[in-house]
Symmetry: C2
Subunit: 690 residues, 2 copies
């Protein structure tokens, strides 16, 4: 329901702002909607891991209010007028827009450190219901329903372990400040969607904390006054997503080749790619692409094999790559590479950028080289239109003109807060924006090469606006394990949560990536992860940061056969997946969907984060537990057919649970009995055992 | 210099309060001295380890001020008058007393959660110099000069490892939330002493943070408005300590038997004590006491051997103890036991307390049993005068009437913040007070038994007022290692820092206590620690929580001989130590003294935390590094004689460093050349090799 009008109801001590039957904003002298003041931040970055201390210096309630003419504005102020904020209220495209600006009261001066970017502290309280479920805040890995917790919003490494109760997290903390916590993410966003049929977005890139712990208020806390808070209303969750995704922009449909099999993560040179491709094909694996991140040469560190970060074809490591790409393409297999928004110090691209003055500077005006762990890299200053264009051109030329059809567009989270940028944006405020600039730069590269219908890049970092510029996300660097916060379960959960921020195309490294502190990817993990990936929009393997410690797709014949089976199912689902992807492009309905989008009357659907709907008609219940040969599946109401046997598995007017055996290669998947895609699903089942 | 008068200098926008030539309080509208508001605390306790989250809800500068008649008061208020504080200024006993009380402005109401204990947030800024050194905040283990850091003040376990950069800390965090951090302490105190010749104490037991990071202000932050801030002035640091210790109360002199040798920590029963005592004596170890913590029976847990916490002689484990105590005493060796302020659930004392209604209650009105790790204990409600008297009586009867001459009065840090107390004090405010109540209860037991000249108890927990009630502190539970934050160096540092809060009698477990995560006390560590203890007011060994993993005083003949040598030195120093202890009792001059107390013109003396003066004339430089056979000694100006050789070691008008060989048994110790105690020192040297 588009918001057509709003009304303000006054009382002696406050007012309520109502839109389409819901009080969306509420102020009372005794419970002020706004507080304002100042704070000091202490931020230390270590390899993209941030230690952030926020010291509130002052935080005053803006208790006083004065409603302006025609109810179009409210002026809030603290007693005595030291802090004052004007809120203008308007309706734009069916949404309520609350525009905020700071107003200086009579006799109030602001100067010096008061006026520094990121020095302001603002709390905005919005009315909440105790029964509410809340989703979003970008890509959250540890929690799906965000109610009852607070979420700092700051793009960073996601952490290794991400749970202080685990040994891995402590090992990572001790070694590299890298353990992280439940809220660490590559892709934060000051946006949430509520089960009560509204969504909220705060227009700011400042460090923020969204706190959903209070029964009667959602508390949004910012290091600057957001320029606006946008509130949308909807009569259903799909309608909410449609509105929200229209606001942020939707992802286009994927190039057709993506549906044609798995993308194999391979490293080691042209010959290795060729050999592994032949071997995979011979084992019956449909291969949509080879993804070779070392196309530009390698660099060995204690973390494992790293790349040069020089986004130029490395002919020593990949001789004849241009011809090979053409050959593979003619056989139906694309080639994909890797790039990120940094340029490795000492290599040609970095030198060129430095000479052109295109690198981000430090406070002394020198090029800022960031420590990435045993090597340093410059940051292309994407706020400089020339640098942006230069870098997009390099990506277009070096990647797309070479013949590659896609790339992992990695990183984006490491902008140091003491950097100095071309356009003058304070780094503290540019930090969260960087992933979006980087997404836009990649999109620009595609546009430059006129490769919109062929190229696909995928990113892990994001922020408000990534929806529009980045056509595909991946879940980043999961551990090669089963852990709730950083293993296979977290990769599934993150897809469902990110979908509620309007990004509906998501996949993960099959088998995970991070291989540290004694971790080893097991065969079972690889196989379970591959199963899940088959029922996602994109299948892609990754060797991990220490390939030798990990079970790989070709480590034995059984694994290859398993991958082939799952990839054939995936390919056989192509028409259905294409349909789901088109729904995402048209209406923001994600490909991997939380159950409540279709089954809002099932209370369990609002918290279920280990099952999802793939498109409208498949219920997918991946096995995410080591050693499990069965799992309990939660069914929403209705009739469901077992994907693998074709027999009826559930038929009830109420939701409920049932346990299913789930041998490797047959994760529990169920078909809505009234699906028009039954023939496609039957074909996919047949393809499995072809 | 006693403060005799103060003056207020006004400007257009503020005022300065001067006392004896120093601006001790300063307010300006643009840099207000006071801020006030409210906050929410989230506190979780796990085995005395606290996870504390402070959410500032509101914090408003009290910019406005109005100076009252005769400059005797200032009323501060926030703009609009929402927050208002009256500060009354007076001089009491030569100190400046600033009394604070909250004042309600016209039309301002406070109710409900606003008025909850611990809900208020207050920041008081005091003028600072950038050159200043700051000491105190109770017993701090990781830092001596507190400048440049902030110190939350909350009594708790001290942490295991206490440094997030160490493996041990991470192991302890992972296993028990127990790793801690640099500020964790059993004995916090909202008091600091400045190198600029003033000291400050805030009269509150609320959670506080003293922040010495700012160049121009010390920022004191509280969870309630302190009733007063006391400021003392002095022309020298010894004079400062004299004033400060007069304010808090000083420790009496020690019973004479304490000087007669080492107190051996022994467990296992009467027979074991007898055997070990004979063995020690035969090896030439003077034994002042046997300290047997298991006199009341044991309890085995995964942490190691624990005690029953039933403060009654256990005749099964200690048959004939009453007769043995008398026998040992006649031979010159006292017997000491162990008690704490909890009573082990299931045992007689706990049952009696429960029946009498003397236990602290939970919010449901039930007895509150605290989890101490695999067992539970009730808390005797020391705010109930009857319970207090009952418990003091039990200690007097069960310990002192049994014939024991002292005890370790352990713990005091675990009062849960949701407990309900007899006298109605909110537990959040009573938490920090508990160690003082517990100290007073022990002192009352001594008084009841009229054992003031015989009994000595020693504690680890403390808070404002412990100085008066507790005659001896020990450093708590160091790891059995050399680590800076939790090993031997921290035990020395903590003595020097605590001295600056007016507690000048301090010792530590020889060899440390905590033996977890693969730790083992080595022979070398035991011997180095014993060396240092010989040059402290009291020598006492401890087997540690896992005795079998630790090197013990009688693990071999060489260790016994070493302990004998060091204990004989200690005994031979008795007259000198008695003199130093008397100086502490008379003037608050601690027995172990920071170098700057005597050598204020030596800049290095203000930060030196691994050397100390023992009394006025001995410079002690303990070896605190594993494997070291030498150490660099810092000398203040003057002439110094090597304690062991009697030769001149340093003679200069300037301070400086020199390296000395330091074999086991001969830690670097130096004598002031002009000491009147030379004969005593010569006697001690001779006693070593007797």
């Amino acid at each position: 329901m588009a918001i057509k009008k709003f009304s303000i109801m006054r009382s002696n001590s406050g007012f309520m702002l109502e839109a389409e039957g819901r009080v969306v904003f509420k102020h009372d002298r005794a419970a002020p909607a706004l507080s304002m003041g100042m704070g000091e931040a202490r931020i230390a970055m270590h390899h993209g891991n941030f230690d952030i201390e926020d010291e509130v210096r002052e935080l005053c309630p803006l208790s006083n209010f004065e409603i302006g003419e025609e109810n179009a504005s409210v002026r809030f102020s603290s007693e005595g007028g030291r802090w004052s904020v004007m809120m203008k209220i308007s309706i734009e495209d069916g949404r309520l827009a609350l525009y905020f600006s700071e107003v200086l009261g009579a006799g109030v001066e602001r100067k010096g450190e008061d006026q520094q970017a990121g020095a302001r502290r603002v709390r905005i309280c919005l009315p909440a219901e105790s029964r509410e479920h809340v989703y979003g805040c970008g890509e959250q890995f540890s929690h799906f329903d965000l109610r009852g917790r607070k979420f700092p919003l700051w793009t960073s490494e996601q952490g290794v372990g991400r749970n202080k109760a685990t040994r891995v997290t402590h090992d990572a903390d001790l070694n590299d400040h890298a353990g992280g916590d439940y809220w660490w993410t590559f892709f934060p966003q000051p946006t949430f969607a509520s089960s009560e049929g509204y969504w909220v977005h705060a227009d700011t890139s400042a460090y923020s904390i969204f706190d959903f712990r209070h029964a009667r208020a959602h508390e949004l806390y910012f290091w600057e006054l957001p320029s606006a808070v946008i509130i949308g209303r909807a009569e259903s969750m799909p309608a909410l997503l449609e509105d929200l995704s229209a606001y942020f922009g939707r992802q286009p449909e994927m190039p057709d080749w993506v549906y044609r099999g798995v993308i194999l993560g391979i490293q080691g040179g042209t010959e290795v790619c060729e050999t592994k491709l032949r071997r995979a094909r011979a084992a019956g694996v449909p291969v949509a692409g080879i993804w070779a991140q070392d196309w530009e040469g390698i660099n060995i560190t204690s973390f494992g094999q790293r790349l040069r970060w020089n986004w130029v074809w490395n002919e020593e490591r990949y001789p004849g790559l241009d011809r090979a790409i053409a050959q593979w393409k003619s056989e139906g297999t694309r080639f994909l590479v890797y790039a990120n928004c940094y340029v490795g110090r000492g290599w040609s691209l970095c030198k060129e950028a430095a000479e052109l003055g295109y690198l981000v500077k430090n406070s002394l005006g020198e090029d800022y080289y960031v420590d990435f762990g045993e090597f340093y890299a410059g940051i292309v200053d994407l706020t400089n239109p020339q640098a942006f264009d230069w870098f997009a051109g390099k990506l277009a030329k070096n990647i797309l003109e070479l013949g590659a059809s896609g790339w992992m567009a990695d990183f984006g989270e490491y902008l140091p807060t003491d950097a100095v940028l071309h356009d003058g944006t304070p780094a503290l405020l540019a930090h969260n924006l960087w992933p979006v600039l980087w997404a836009r730069c990649n999109a620009e590269a595609v546009k430059k090469a006129r490769a919109e219908h062929e190229a696909l890049f995928f990113m892990r970092a994001g922020f408000t606006g990534s929806q529009r510029w980045c056509p595909m996300m991946w879940a980043g660097d999961q551990n090669v394990d089963w852990s709730n916060d950083d293993g296979l379960p977290s990769a599934i959960r993150s897809a469902l949560g990110l979908a509620m921020c309007g990004h509906g195309l998501h996949h993960s490294d099959i088998g995970g990536y991070t291989t540290l502190y004694g971790m080893h990817r097991t065969k079972e993990l690889f196989m379970r992860w591959a199963e899940q990936a088959a029922f996602s929009p994109l299948m892609r393997t990754h060797e991990g940061n220490r390939p030798k410690d990990n079970w790989q797709f070709d480590s034995d014949a059984e694994t290859l056969a398993h991958l082939g089976r799952m990839a054939r199912v995936h390919v056989a689902l192509a028409d259905y997946l294409r349909f789901a992807v088109a729904e995402n492009a048209a209406r923001g309905m994600p490909v991997m969907r939380p159950l409540f989008l279709s089954y809002p009357n099932d209370e369990r659907a609002w918290t279920c984060d280990d099952e999802y709907l793939l498109g409208p008609d498949l219920l997918v219940a991946p096995v995410v537990t080591e050693g499990a040969n069965s799992r309990v599946v939660h069914f929403p109401y209705g009739t469901w057919i077992d994907f693998w046997s074709g027999t009826q598995a559930w038929d009830a007017k109420l939701p409920g649970d049932r346990e299913f055996t789930a041998p490797l290669g047959a994760l529990p998947v169920f078909i809505r009995a009234d699906s028009p895609w039954i023939a496609t699903f039957n074909g996919a089942r047949a393809a499995a055992d072809r």
